[in-house]
């Protein structure tokens, strides 16, 4: 693949994402078609906000659909970027945010936040981040105790920490008031964007933008990192430092995404794969394409979640139902792409 071709593919993906965002704005119980959208926009830009404020079309678009759509795109991007980053850092194409215990830790944090923080969304984010980071730190520490630099120990330690976090989460659910608190925790963690408003979006936006920028800055070194830590060190990469920075920023993103949307599985594993397959391994293209493709795919799935049945289906059910078989298909057919 030549350089220009990859860049062109990224632009096409970006355009597809924009198109999907527009289409998604027209999907839902409240009927809106494309001409309504054009009308609203022309009123807005022609006559200002007063002209559309009282229009119910505007309320649906601006207060309900748009923040939800943008939050979905951000969560999808965040999970894919962190998955892509983890895969290079651990030189393992089967690694995802779930592997390091981040998802489980952040989920536990969300449950703690919902139970003990009087419902303030900011606290939920904060506790999710703290427990998520603690989970990664524990994973890292355990793997250092067990095997030092060996990546396999990190993956195994992640499984240990995930189990621990999930057990604690089950304990919290067991102890929670079955009428008052339990349904809230369960539905929150199953994932969904029904509650997503501008607040969620504005909390996520800086987290994703900053993390994406940091990781993009390190893209060249991350390329080299995938050759293995020893080889990267021999090429002058400060491996410990890079590893730490990338893990921290990836974890922040996963924690924020989990706090915003619950545990959305599979996206962080499957999207980096697809994007590596289409755009190649080079981070310059691989990272932006993962972000775009992650947003695109999750938005597609969220549209399914809110239209397939009368009641909304939790997003993690959809991502797993589509993601798992798709990954199985990749495993069987794409042995060549470097992950055997």
């Amino acid at each position: 693949m030549t350089r220009i071709a990859a860049a062109e593919k990224i632009i096409i993906t970006g355009l597809l994402l924009i198109a999907l965002i527009v289409i998604s704005m027209l999907i839902g119980n409240y009927e809106l078609n494309f001409s309504d959208l054009v009308l609203i926009l022309s009123d807005l830009f022609g006559q200002g906000l007063q002209a559309v404020e009282d229009n119910p079309d505007w309320s649906v678009l601006y207060y309900i659909r748009l923040p939800r759509i943008l939050t979905v795109v951000l969560v999808g991007s965040a999970l894919s970027i962190s998955g892509a980053a983890y895969q290079n850092i651990f030189r393992n194409p089967l690694v995802s945010p779930d592997i390091l215990g981040v998802s489980a830790g952040a989920g536990l944090g969300v449950a703690l936040g919902l139970l003990y923080s009087s419902g303030s969304i900011l606290y939920v984010y904060l506790i999710a981040f703290i427990v998520g980071t603690a989970a990664v730190a524990l994973t890292y520490w355990l793997s250092q105790l067990a095997g030092g630099e060996n990546t396999m120990f990190m993956v195994l330690a992640g499984i240990v920490v995930s189990s621990l976090a999930n057990a604690l989460l089950s304990l919290l659910k067991y102890l929670a008031d079955p009428m008052q608190n339990l349904p809230g925790i369960v539905f929150y963690l199953m994932g969904g964007f029904a509650r997503s408003g501008w607040q969620e979006f504005y909390l996520l936006l800086p987290v994703v933008l900053i993390s994406l920028t940091v990781i993009l800055f390190l893209r060249w070194q991350l390329n080299i990192f995938s050759l293995g830590e020893k080889e990267a060190a021999a090429l002058g990469v400060e491996t410990e430092k890079i590893k730490l920075i990338v893990i921290i920023f990836s974890t922040i993103m996963v924690a924020a995404a989990t706090a915003a949307a619950g545990q959305v599985s599979w996206i962080g594993l499957v999207i980096p794969h697809i994007s590596r397959f289409i755009f190649g391994s080079k981070y310059k293209y691989y990272l932006p394409s993962s972000a775009l493709l992650g947003g695109f795919t999750l938005l597609l799935m969220d549209n399914l979640a809110r239209t397939v049945s009368g009641a909304e289906i939790p997003i993690s059910i959809i991502t797993a139902l589509i993601g798992a078989p798709f990954f199985a298909y990749l495993l069987i057919t794409k042995k060549e792409s470097g992950w055997s």
Partner: protein, 259 residues
């Protein structure tokens, strides 16, 4: 210039290197010989600053290598690993470009000049036609050449090769060693671990023989590479006929039983 003084290293309870004094001068081609498990790889990793010795010091241009930044070391030492496929595939040109990394600042990307140089190096090694090929899909010999190109890109004065011919055929083995030999004549120091004494004999200026973590012989090829020294290193009788070393095994017990 790279040297070790009283270098010792052990993994938990096993001493792998014992009191090694070593010195590599500019423009030398040095081969390290020794049986499997004699400590060659550990010695290499210590000398490259990847492992910290238990005792003794490693000096790179007079500076303690374990106190240097990885980038500083990488500007002076390049490592040509054994060729192997990557987990994530890259183009040949990108693999070569990675060699410029020690000369880039923290978040810098390689610029147009680096691209140009990478292509020049590929052309010099006569593999420019591979530049857009996928690294995982070219042959083992070609991959090894690409890794050498990357090391040249690094502009370092010392080159390490750990058994460079382990996956290579007869022609490629000699091609790689010939190129390394040529590099050593342009003020680069080449240090290589080799399994085959005949290759070491043919290409090196100086040979060091390791046995159970100690140097048992070191010096110019003609002095050190005697049948006696090699017999001691590999614990089997080795003969020298002309410039060729050979050995004879007794018939294995399996065959004796069959008879």
């Amino acid at each position: 210039m790279l040297e070790s003084k009283n270098l010792s290293f052990s993994y938990t309870d096993q001493k792998v290197l014992n009191n090694i004094d070593f010195r590599a001068e500019e423009g030398e081609f040095i081969s390290i010989l020794g049986a499997n498990g004699s400590g060659k790889t550990t010695f290499f990793q210590c000398m490259q600053g990847l492992l910290t010795p238990d005792a003794g010091k490693i000096l790179l241009d007079g500076e303690n290598i374990n106190r240097m930044y990885k980038k500083e070391i990488a500007r002076k030492i390049a490592i040509v690993p054994q060729e192997n496929k990557n987990i994530f595939d890259y183009q040949v040109l990108d693999m070569v470009l990675m060699g410029i990394n020690p000369w880039l600042s923290f978040a810098e990307q390689p610029g147009a000049e680096a691209y140009k140089r990478a292509e020049e190096i590929l052309a010099e090694l006569e593999i420019l036609n591979l530049k857009h090929k996928s690294f995982n899909k070219i042959s083992g010999g070609e991959r090894q050449l690409v890794l050498i190109a990357r090391a040249v890109m690094q502009k370092s004065s010392i080159l390490f090769l750990d058994e460079p011919n382990s996956h290579l055929d007869f022609k490629n083995t000699h091609l790689i060693l010939k190129i390394m030999r040529e590099l050593s004549t342009v003020q680069k120091t080449v240090i290589t671990a080799l399994h085959d004494p005949n290759l070491a004999y043919q290409y090196s200026d100086r040979v060091i023989i390791l046995k159970t973590g100690k140097i048992i012989a070191a010096g110019p090829v003609e002095e050190v590479m005697t049948a006696k020294n090699l017999s001691r290193a590999y614990e089997i009788e080795i003969n020298k006929e002309g410039p060729i070393f050979s050995l004879t095994f007794q018939k294995s017990r399996l065959l004796k039983q069959e008879a």
